[in-house]
């Protein structure tokens, strides 16, 4: 395996409904080097960053969905950061829109980042179905029913968290994207109206930083995957 600076340290896969997903003990992982024998503790000196990658399917319809109901938490037993988040939802390319006005001072405990503005509900019919009108056949010849989750909307996201001193890079950076080919319940074609959302934001810096656990919580049921990578300064590979 070629050297690389991103080491996968965790993959949570949830295929039944849950309302929250967490990754814990982020500080207690060892990463192995190329020969597979020597290990490096994931100190901030060697691994100053985290990358969380995920995709989720929300059990919510458009009419049920509220953007304020999806949050990403950081739990710290030392200090977490003070940050603001800025976002550019919808089609606005440049944004100085302050999305989160909260100001979180350092200390033990939880902090959170609302990220729902970049998420999409996975269903679009008010009755709890995302019925596309009729069955279709996929490229492998399988019948995909009109209400199959395969035809719902998934939101993808990347959240980076960096250890930084003051006046350097923002501590947390967030990118999300979700798109659908249409919201009509009556057609199965691919040329109807489409819609999507994205979000990018982040901010903050702190002299003190410790990131122990992270949580993705919502008011809805959801399922999906969450990966965690440590971002290394050297050629560390693999994970324990």
């Amino acid at each position: 395996m070629a050297n690389q600076n991103y080491a996968l340290i965790g993959h949570a896969h949830q295929n039944s409904w849950t309302s929250s997903m967490a990754m814990t003990n982020l500080q207690n992982v060892q990463v192995f080097n190329d020969d597979g024998q020597h290990s490096a503790t994931t100190t901030y000196a060697n691994f100053p960053g985290y990358r969380f990658v995920g995709k989720i399917f929300l059990d919510a319809t458009v009419s049920q969905f509220s953007t304020s109901h999806i949050n990403f938490y950081i739990y710290s037993t030392s200090n977490y950061d003070t940050y603001y988040t800025y976002s550019s939802p919808s089609t606005q390319v440049y944004s100085n829109t302050l999305v989160q006005s909260g100001n979180y001072t350092g200390g033990n405990g939880y902090t959170y980042i609302p990220i729902g503005e970049g998420f999409y509900p996975s269903k679009y019919a008010g009755g709890g179905s995302w019925d596309w009108g009729s069955d279709v056949t996929d490229v492998d010849g399988n019948t995909v029913s009109s209400d199959s989750p395969r035809r719902g909307v998934w939101t993808n996201f990347v959240i980076d968290a960096y250890f930084q001193n003051v006046n350097k890079q923002s501590t947390v950076k967030i990118k999300t994207a979700a798109a659908t080919n249409g919201f009509s319940t009556s057609t199965t074609d691919t040329s109807e109206s489409y819609s999507g959302r994205y979000y990018h934001g982040g901010g903050g810096s702190n002299n003190y930083y410790r990131l122990d656990d992270v949580y993705l919580t919502t008011s809805y049921n959801f399922r999906g995957d969450l990966f965690c990578y440590r971002i290394g300064t050297g050629n560390w590979v693999g994970g324990s």
Binding site: Q14, S19, M21, M23, S68, G102, Y112, P114, G116
Partner: protein, 82 residues
């Protein structure tokens, strides 16, 4: 109680369990705070829009108002109705 899927990076084990009271309280508090922040941002947007309109009513042009107070606030885009 809400459920939570927990992946322990130290052991590689994944469990699904009910949230603890503390976890659920934090979750609910954050939801509440996020809702309040959403309302506050909407109020700021409406205030900015109203202030802008008052300047326009005084006879200033759109360009003049923009030069004074910046571009008009963007209304958040709602998902299409179904």
């Amino acid at each position: 109680m809400a459920t939570i899927t927990v992946y322990d990076c130290a052991t590689g084990e994944q469990t699904v369990r009910e949230m603890t009271e503390e976890e659920n309280a934090v979750r609910i508090e954050a939801l509440h705070n996020a809702e309040e922040e959403t309302k506050a941002r909407e109020k700021e947007r409406v205030d900015a829009q109203n202030g802008r309109q008052k300047l326009l009513d005084l006879g200033l042009s759109e360009d003049e108002v923009t030069a004074l107070v910046g571009p008009a606030p963007v209304e958040p885009e709602e998902p299409p109705a179904v």
